[in-house]
């Protein structure tokens, strides 16, 4: 049996349960995340992605159903500390999570509370600043940073906790293109080192980097699969009103004009396929 870091069964979540206008954000979600998987969670605004993410580290508790992290049920208060150390979340609005007056202290805040020895703490902070490209800004005030820098700081402060699973809730949304590439490269490295990644995103090019894509619609899982299978299901993508990464979209446009192409996911695959097609045409 696969080693699942996270398991979700029949998860329902209702905001304002018992109030006049309850909103059912999750209507029965089953999901198992193997250790080391890179999972992309996509779906329209209000489809329940962020709610699901918050249920995965006990920030929200199920209205019905169960969530286990490393076999620990999130309903048990005694497990919360372990669960939150295991699963770290980087949010969309990093301002909400800054507590310190310098970048360095901000990154140190989490690991400091774990009671680590000073040398280990120093090493973790330095490493987290380095990989997130913030070393030069270590003395700056977090609130004086630009949006992109804040995004990277939010990731750095979670990384310093060395979680087993990192959840990014649209954490790249405010980054400029190069900062986004840097963060994605960082995620690639963390993935290679065996970290479990769950990335909530609207960016289909980003989702294509994952091992598996799960699309939520109206609080339920509407489509899932590895990126190749996922983006190949054009009918389902249309039905769910989801877009495709650039290379997939261009390939689809060419197929509509009758060009025979193999399955395409990445830009490199499209370039190779087209060069092949052209060479065959020239050979005639």
């Amino acid at each position: 049996m696969a080693d699942f870091l996270i398991r979700v069964e029949g998860l329902r979540y209702v905001y304002g349960a018992g109030s006049e206008a309850p909103v059912e954000a999750l209507k029965g979600v089953d999901l198992a995340v193997p250790r080391g998987e890179w999972l992309a969670l996509i779906g329209h605004n209000g489809s329940g992605k962020s709610t699901l993410a918050k249920c995965l580290n006990a920030l929200l508790l199920p209205t019905a159903g169960e969530v286990w992290v490393k076999g620990l049920n999130t309903r048990e208060r005694a497990h919360w500390l372990t669960i939150r150390q295991t699963v770290g979340i980087v949010f969309q609005n990093p301002d909400n999570q800054f507590v310190a007056s310098t970048v360095e202290e901000e990154v140190a805040f989490g690991p400091e509370n774990l009671g680590l020895p000073p040398a280990v703490l120093r090493e973790r902070v330095d490493e987290a600043l380095e990989i997130s490209g913030l070393t030069a800004l270590r003395q700056a005030n977090p609130h004086s940073l630009s949006a992109g820098q804040k995004g990277r700081l939010a990731i750095a402060s979670i990384l310093a906790m060395r979680p087993e699973c990192l959840i990014l809730d649209e954490a790249t949304a405010f980054l400029d293109p190069l900062a986004r590439e840097a963060v994605l490269e960082l995620l690639g490295r963390l993935h290679q080192q065996g970290m479990t990644l769950i990335m909530v995103t609207h960016h289909m090019g980003e989702a294509a980097l994952a091992d598996r894509i799960v699309a939520l619609a109206e609080g339920r899982i509407a489509l899932e699969g590895d990126p190749r299978a996922f983006f190949a299901d054009e009918a389902a993508l249309r039905r769910l009103n989801l877009s495709a990464p650039a290379a997939v979209a261009v390939a689809a446009g060419l197929r509509e004009r009758g060009v025979a192409l193999p399955p395409i996911l990445t830009e490199r695959e499209l370039v190779e396929a087209l060069v092949n097609v052209k060479e065959r045409l020239w050979a005639r």
Binding site: A246, E267, R268
Partner: protein, 287 residues
């Protein structure tokens, strides 16, 4: 071509000037926007985009070097009525949740029109119209608590609140960030309609080069507080090496086109949008 309605010349700005926390945000920014245009403002994080946007509705005024003219009025001139200008130039902030002031969506969108002293019925019709424009069903949303909204819904409500003021100029600081692709398309359609039907001038800050390619008439690139490149998207976004040197990246379509050319595929022109690239590849195959 319309007359110039926003003009920024050699603008400098330092936050917390004269304190140890002083930070130079703008050091020689230029911008020209003509009536009815959609102008994009791009640049790496920290380049000064959001700061420049705050000058365009008089939230900030030049205190050092530089000159800002909005709708023909110099914002540094003490005779200029800045609050009157702000009613004509609406700004949607990057952090939409910070723009929501009221408990209920309907009250929030009504906030501006009420400040204008409009009659109840007029306020109500503006609220309904603005919510519909941003793709939210007014009957479902007017009584929703603002804190129960998702991130994308908050952005739409913030935008609706500004639209309800019927501004001549709309300033958007990453207004589609965090919206799903469908929502983004809807906002694009809305912005084009505002421009076509009401002649609204739009300045948008964006990190999404596909969005800029799809929407903008002009692009201004900022780096370290200075304007370093200006032109039509077809000129600016098709220079991947130049863009990367400026801390930006080309749209995926342009990257694909370059990779194809490098691999020896005959591709004419500088396709920038997906449909254009499909067409160029098709032509290349036939040729």
């Amino acid at each position: 071509m319309g007359e110039v309605i926003l003009s920024v010349r050699n603008l400098h700005h330092t936050y917390l000037q004269g304190t140890p926390l002083a930070r130079e945000a703008l050091r020689g920014a230029h911008l020209t926007v003509r009536r009815g245009e959609i102008a994009a403002l791009v640049g790496e994080s920290g380049a000064g985009k959001s700061t420049l946007l705050r000058f365009l509705n008089g939230l900030l005024t030049p205190t050092e070097r530089g000159c800002v003219t909005i709708l023909g009025q110099d914002t540094a001139d003490p005779r200029t009525d800045l609050s009157a200008l702000r009613r004509r130039v609406g700004l949607v902030f990057q952090e939409a949740h910070q723009q929501l002031l009221e408990r209920f969506v309907g009250d929030d969108v009504a906030y501006g029109p009420r400040q204008l002293g409009l009659a109840r019925e007029e306020v109500r019709s503006r609220v309904y119209e603005a919510l519909r424009a941003v793709g939210l069903d007014p009957d479902l949303f007017v009584d929703r608590h603002t804190f129960s909204l998702s991130g994308g819904e908050m952005r739409r409500v913030a935008l609706a609140g500004v639209l309800a003021m019927r501004p001549e100029v709309l300033l958007l600081d990453e207004a589609t960030t965090g919206l799903d692709p469908q929502g983004r398309q809807e906002v694009h359609r809305l912005l084009r309609a505002l421009r076509e039907e009401q002649g609204v001038t739009i300045v948008l800050v964006s990190n999404d080069m596909e969005e800029v390619a799809a929407l903008a008439d002009t692009v201004t690139v900022l780096k370290e507080g200075q304007t370093v490149l200006e032109g039509a998207p077809s000129q600016v976004l098709t220079q991947p090496e130049r863009l990367r040197a400026l801390g930006l990246a080309e749209p995926p379509t342009v990257r694909l086109a370059w990779a194809l050319k490098k691999a020896g595929f005959p591709l004419a022109g500088e396709p920038m949008r997906s449909e254009e690239l499909v067409e160029a590849i098709w032509q290349g195959m036939k040729g």
